[in-house]
């Protein structure tokens, strides 16, 4: 911990202060230090999107941001947005449409879907597909996911 930096951030509404090694990225910090294992590690080079979390209101790749960079930031994860009810409609639509199989990509998929819902609530089917283009799902054919989001946006 020779380089550890004291870092204070708000995670799902709770302020936490930790001494963090700079090399530790945000998703590893959330998972290993705070036990928030809903954000997943899929590729660690910013391609699969499984680590998507929200920082100061914008979605980011948790593997491409150092935890120390989150000093002073408001971080929100799948656990927080589930408990606040913010994702409830999307979660229900995903459940009703079976828009998930193994569920590993799902928390991030929901974060991306929520981001779209906030930014472009009238998004077309094609725009939905484009907005999710950075979130890898190997199980579904993406169609049920797109259908579920469409249900929420247009339903």
């Amino acid at each position: 911990m020779e380089h550890a930096v004291e870092t204070t951030l708000t995670v799902n509404g709770i302020e936490v202060t930790r001494r963090i090694e700079p090399r530790r990225n945000l998703v590893d910090f959330l998972r290993e230090e705070l036990g928030l294992t809903g954000s997943h590690v899929g590729c660690e080079h910013g391609v699969c999107g499984a680590c998507t979390v929200r920082v100061d209101g914008e979605i980011v790749r948790g593997c491409l941001m150092l935890a120390v960079q989150a000093n002073g930031c408001k971080v929100e994860t799948i656990e927080g947005l589930s408990d606040s009810g913010e994702l409830a409609r999307l979660q229900k639509a995903f459940h009703d449409r079976n828009a998930l199989q193994c569920g590993f990509c799902t928390p991030a998929m929901l974060m991306a879907a929520r981001d779209l819902q906030l930014k472009n609530p009238k998004a077309s089917r094609e725009e939905i597909r484009t907005h999710l283009s950075g979130n890898y799902c190997r199980c579904t054919g993406y169609q049920a996911i797109v259908d579920a989001i469409e249900d929420v946006l247009h339903g």
Binding site: E2, H3, V5, E21, P22, R23, R24, N25, D28, E44, H45, G46, G49, T52, E58, I59, V60, R61, C63, L64, M65, L66, V68, Q69, N71, A112, D115, T130, H131, S133, G134, N135
Partner: protein, 267 residues
């Protein structure tokens, strides 16, 4: 794939940043969307990361005679800026091709240009727009035209201790940005950033060499046919994993044909 150990500092002023950058093994961290993956893959092992995102003078968009865009402005901000979309549409169009929303929220204009990945969108745009890069160092400011900034593969005119502060773009409403990527958000196989105004055309290609390449012959040509012929001399694209040099040249010509009318409309 865990990053090696390094120290971290987040200066609040340029002076402080210049001090830190003099330390051995220091490296600038901006949005981190290219640097952090290379750290995770242990392809890069800096001793100190100097996080410049706290320096407010590097942020923001100033509209004056030119567009001055701070190095820390993110792709998402560029994509969403109504001013940019209206007056330098090339940049806004290019931004939408960069990776995916979550990455565009963190990645910065300055980071992309300073990294100088020849397959990236902004370097080709800067070259086509003949942008001016504003470099700051302890000794003061240097203003470098894009044409002189990109020196080689991932190599720029930035000197040790300097950082890219902002980029000045001229207003150019007539432009075309086209790229061919296998999947939305991928690095393109080849791409074209072209502008046209009273003084003529400037067409640059990405993915076409060790740096973004200005297709001088094609830009100056008076017909598409001539331009296509000239392009073979302008660029000699390196093969990538899936495409030979010949394929990329062919695709560059397709893009040139598709952009030609837009860039050739009479005023």
């Amino acid at each position: 794939m865990k990053a090696p150990s390094f120290a971290y500092a987040k200066p609040r002023s340029l002076e402080e940043a210049f001090d830190l950058l003099e330390r051995p093994g220091a490296k600038i961290l901006a949005g981190g969307q290219s640097l952090v993956p290379s750290l995770n893959m242990r392809l890069s092992s800096p001793e100190l990361l100097v996080d410049i995102t706290g320096i407010s003078s590097l942020a923001g968009i100033q509209v004056g005679r030119t567009f001055r865009i701070g190095a820390l402005v993110t792709h998402a901000q560029i994509e969403r800026s109504a001013e940019i979309r209206k007056q330098v549409p090339l940049l806004a169009e290019a931004a939408a091709h960069i990776a995916h929303p979550a990455i565009r929220n963190r990645g910065t204009l300055g980071g992309s240009l300073a990294l100088a990945d020849p397959a990236a969108e902004y370097p080709a745009c800067a070259l086509a727009l003949n942008a001016t890069l504003v470099l700051l160092g302890r000794k003061g400011e240097r203003r470098v035209p894009a044409g002189s900034f990109f020196k080689g593969l991932f190599e720029t005119d930035l000197r040790t201790g300097e950082l890219l502060a902002a980029v000045e773009f001229p207003r150019v409403e007539r432009s075309a940005f086209l790229e061919l990527a296998r999947r939305q958000g991928d690095y393109a196989i080849i791409g074209l950033a072209g502008v046209a105004d009273g003084s003529g055309r400037r067409i640059a290609f990405l993915g076409a060499g060790a740096t973004p390449v200005l297709a001088k012959g094609a830009s100056a040509a008076s017909s598409l046919e001539q331009a296509l012929k000239a392009l073979g001399n302008d660029i000699d694209p390196p093969a990538d994993l899936y495409h030979s040099s010949a394929t990329k040249l062919h695709l560059a010509k397709v893009l040139l044909s598709r952009a030609w009318n837009t860039l050739s409309k009479p005023h």
